[in-house]
């Protein structure tokens, strides 16, 4: 099936939040903190603006608790006398003219008595910088398996290394946007988002409204990548506060500069590995320390850390593992959800470290991975027994074969001997990604899906999961159509409107197809049982049964229902971080080829092969597109995407100086799938969306290391960074 809304997008007919017709509305904008930390001593409104023409909102206008409710309640909706990061929202303005509003925002001065900020998460804070708990640690988590100290003491070889990754901006092409208005006492908030029920919960809490007086509707969302997981709650609250005070609809749409400066980014990371091995490369002990920069509020950082440490030891078997993780408070704009959710950071460290080990032990990086990859019956760091029947070595072999890895290595060696100005190399990364919420998360979500039989015999699928480009509308249609024997046009997908759809959980964590898709199948089955027909009744006869039911039950609703049930045999101990972290893992090996220009130190990715086992592939075009897009986003993170900060503020918040890959910066991405259906995912599918961003950065840097002899330990590996280390690397290689 082709993308359901594809033609609407191609012809420009799809209406995003800023495209919706809206009468008699005000634009909204945000006045923000100019400094990273301090007490707000005054807010001055400039004399040359007629403020009577503006709606002005500050923290005193918030009807309920001044809290953006998420895991904790530490983040205010609007700063109340104290600011903890640059660009923290302080005052909201509403006005008819967007241009007039821009001038007005500049005419408001937020006066702050500055206090010492903490801006480097790697440096222990001074006493006057402590702002969270006793030590600025937002969250600590630990995984322990076996006896690491003893195993390290006895190991014939110990290899250590530290690895760092920078912040990454999502650059969804549609910036954040939200509209809000009051409709018969019901507050309606509509906009670009991944999680309508997160937004609903935030509105209910801070605006002190019950469910009957708030309604949240998702509009077609122009990219999310995690950037529209938690942040939309903030902007929704802002639009709602302005609309309630103005008594008129209010629209807030960020321009690119504001979006890049003021919204979340990928957490920067620092990871230390200390690995004990036999001389031929068998893992004996993995001792890891993982530190993330959380920024000024807790937001989702504890769960980002959780996923980060669970993936940190890599897809390898090792009897002794210790992973100590922490997220640090800093006076930075809070870091947040971004595709991969902590795993890209720790898997970069892990897979780069594997090549460092291989070089130290003088063994082949492929062999090092081959001997340590998890075999069925072996356990991960949390003690989860892997027995899904996937041959992880075969995934590796397929990637080597498709990339012509061995022949390329020989060809590159010959090329590098005869060329003075360029170096070529090839590198790989083997990795995995757990799908769905971590541990008991899916049980806690308690997701619910409905499939309604309509009077004309069609069905309507009701979920809160949204389309942001990844293909939800198409895949949900396919899943219901296949289950019922219907044509795609006989399956409608309901708009994600909290007034109509049940809470099927957020559109995050590679859970939509696998977890929610499975619920759609079960709701279809439940619809059949309400009709009292068996699974053999499909297609036209099922449609006829639905029509007949409606004739016999006038004015009643025919609804199939399904609620999440934990797959059998899964258990998780959250107190000790032991057990089955995920219902299923997807497995992958990616291979990157690079050419490094020794005059400019620029790195060009010249070839890329992505092989993965993701259960059953439900839609080849969509799945391939997810992988290709994720890989290119990962190549950007690896080589060019660098957020530059000064005094806690991003200073390159433009697409002019924060560069993402263009079509001419990347090669074709060769994608291959191996299939091993997962019995508890829709049609056998496992999660796919995040996996492809885990592999590119280590594969590319391993290729640069192979090409140049340099030993890069941090992304993004910009030409400046490579120049700083490559001279040393090349000299030492001579």
């Amino acid at each position: 099936m082709h993308r359901r809304e594809g033609l609407a997008k191609l012809t420009g007919r799809e209406r995003y939040v800023d495209d919706l017709p809206l009468d008699d509305f005000l634009w909204g904008m945000t006045v923000r903190s100019p400094v990273p930390r301090g007490r707000v001593t005054a807010v001055r409104f400039g004399a040359d603006v007629d403020w009577s023409a503006f709606v002005i909102v500050d923290h005193r206008d918030i009807p309920g608790p001044n809290e953006v409710i998420l895991i904790e309640r530490d983040q205010p909706v609007l700063a109340a006398g104290y600011v903890r990061h640059v660009h923290e929202p302080v005052v909201l303005l509403g006005h008819r003219s967007r241009e007039g509003l821009r001038r007005a925002v500049r005419a408001v001065e937020v006066v702050v008595a500055p206090e010492p900020p903490v801006l480097d998460f790697r440096v222990p804070p001074r006493p006057d910088q402590i702002q969270y708990g006793r030590d600025n640690v937002l969250k600590r988590l630990k995984i322990e398996k076996g006896d690491v100290e003893r195993a390290l003491a006895q190991a014939p070889v110990v290899v250590s290394g530290t690895y760092e990754t920078g912040a990454q901006e999502h650059v969804y092409l549609e910036t954040q946007g939200m509209i809000a208005w009051l409709e018969d006492q019901v507050l309606v908030v509509k906009g670009s988002m991944q999680c309508p029920y997160y937004v609903l919960s935030a509105l209910k809490h801070a605006l002190a409204r019950d469910e009957s007086r708030v309604r949240v509707i998702q509009t077609p969302t122009g990219g999310g990548f995690g950037g529209k997981e938690e942040y939309p709650s903030d902007i929704a609250l802002h639009a709602a506060l302005l609309a309630l005070k103005a008594g008129r609809p209010v629209k807030i749409v960020y321009d690119r500069g504001e979006d890049m400066a003021a919204t979340t980014k990928r957490h920067p990371s620092w990871v230390r590995h200390r690995t004990g091995l036999t001389r031929d490369g068998r893992l004996l002990a993995q001792d890891l320390e993982v530190v993330l920069d959380g920024g000024a509020y807790v937001t989702l950082s504890p769960v980002v850390l959780s996923r980060g440490i669970i993936h940190a030891a890599g897809p390898y078997s090792c009897d002794n593992v210790r992973i100590a993780g922490r997220v640090m408070f800093t006076n930075a704009v809070p870091f947040g959800a971004f595709r991969g959710f902590g795993a890209p950071q720790t898997l970069f460290a892990c897979e780069r470290h594997m090549d460092v080990i291989a070089r130290t032990l003088e063994i082949d990086p492929v062999e090092l991975r081959r001997i340590n990859l998890l075999r069925d019956g072996q356990t991960t760091a949390t003690g989860q027994v892997i027995r899904d029947g996937t041959d992880r070595v075969a995934v590796l072999e397929r990637a080597l074969e498709l990339s012509d890895y061995r022949a390329k290595r020989r060809a590159h060696a010959a090329f590098n001997e005869t060329h003075a100005a360029q170096r070529r190399g090839i590198g790989l990364a083997a990795f995995y990604h757990g799908a769905g919420f971590t541990g008991g998360g899916e049980v806690h979500l308690n997701s619910r899906v409905r499939v309604a039989g309509l009077a004309d015999g069609r069905v309507e699928v009701l979920t809160a999961n949204i389309e942001m480009g990844q293909g939800t509308l198409t895949v949900f249609t396919q899943i219901a159509a296949e289950r019922l024997g219907f044509a795609p046009q006989d399956v409608a997908i309901a708009e994600a409107d909290t007034g109509r759809v049940p809470n099927s959980g957020p559109t995050v964590a590679s859970r939509t197809t696998m977890v929610v898709g499975r619920l759609i199948e079960r709701a279809c089955d439940d619809l059949r049982s309400r009709l009292e027909v068996d699974a053999a009744v499909r297609g036209a006869s099922l449609r006829a049964a639905i029509v007949r039911w409606h004739r016999e039950h006038a004015a009643e609703r025919l609804v199939g229902d399904a609620v999440y049930e934990r797959p059998p045999g899964i258990s998780w101990d959250d107190a000790n971080y032991r057990g089955d972290a995920y219902g299923a893992f997807a497995w992958a090996t990616y291979v990157a080829e690079v050419e490094v220009d020794l005059a400019t130190y620029s790195t060009r990715v010249t070839g890329f092969v992505a092989v993965q086992e993701v259960g059953k592939v439900l839609n080849e075009t969509l799945a391939r597109g997810q992988v290709q897009g994720g890989v290119v986003q990962g190549i950007g993170w690896a080589l060019m995407e660098e957020c530059k900060f000064r005094d806690g503020a991003m200073i390159n918040n433009q697409l002019t100086n924060y560069l993402i890959p263009t079509s001419d910066d990347v090669p074709p991405i060769h994608v291959a799938f191996l299939e091993n259906p997962y019995p508890h995912g829709a049609q056998g599918a496992k999660g796919l969306g995040e996996l492809p961003i885990d592999g590119p950065a280590p594969a590319v840097l391993n290729a640069v290391a192979a090409a140049t002899g340099a030993d890069p330990r941090a992304v993004p590996l910009t030409p400046e960074r490579l120049m700083a280390i490559a001279d040393f690397g090349l000299r030492s290689a001579e």
Binding site: H2, R3, E5, G6, L7, A8, K9, L10, T11, G12, R13, E14, R15, Y16, D18, D19, P21, E99, H170, V171, Y172, L173, E174, T175, P220, T221, G222, G223, G224, F225, D255, R256, G257, M468, G469, Q470, G471, T621, L622, R624, G625, V627, Q628, G629, G630, V631, V632, Q633, Q654, L655, T656, I660, T662, S663, D664, D665, V666, P668, I669
Partner: protein
């Protein structure tokens, strides 16, 4: 700001609008004329989401003051024939769709000027349109398919 009156040809029909002197063509199209197919991605000519054709050449409409199109021909994504875009739907050229109208407008310029491929690769010609979803293969392959169909037609 002073309002000025501008007449030009939009998608084949004459239009006349009063605009502010510094108004961007992008805003005139979207907010005055209701043609919301053209998207704003960055507002500074980097991403190409707002690409329209001005006298047949692709331009970033966020960088064009509306007064400059007086008497000229402007074509937007709304001017394209939907069935002609089917190969893009088949080939995975669109995901979230926010860059898509701009991508399509650049692609149409290439389609109408195949001689460009004598001096540039498709990837070079498309480098002015940022896409964060597809990794570009779906876009480049779809344009290749359209060019192939046209070449053999």
């Amino acid at each position: 700001m002073t309002a000025i009156s501008i007449a030009f040809t939009l998608n084949g029909s004459p239009v006349s609008v009063d605009v502010d002197s510094a108004e961007r063509l992008l805003d005139t199209l979207r907010y005055r004329l209701g043609l919301t197919g053209t998207k704003e991605g960055c507002g500074e000519g980097e991403c190409g989401a707002c690409t329209v054709h001005l006298d047949g050449l692709p331009v970033d409409s966020c960088l064009v003051p509306t007064y400059q199109v007086r008497g000229r021909r402007v074509d937007t994504v709304e001017s394209l024939d939907p069935p002609a875009l089917e190969p893009f739907a088949r080939g995975g050229a669109t995901q979230c769709g926010a860059c898509t109208p701009g991508v399509v407008m650049t692609a149409w310029w290439i389609r109408d000027h195949p001689e460009l491929l004598g001096t540039h690769t498709l990837r070079e010609l498309m480098a002015g349109n940022l896409c964060r979803c597809t990794g570009y293969d779906g876009i480049v392959d779809s344009i290749g398919a359209v060019l192939g169909e046209r070449g053999s037609a």
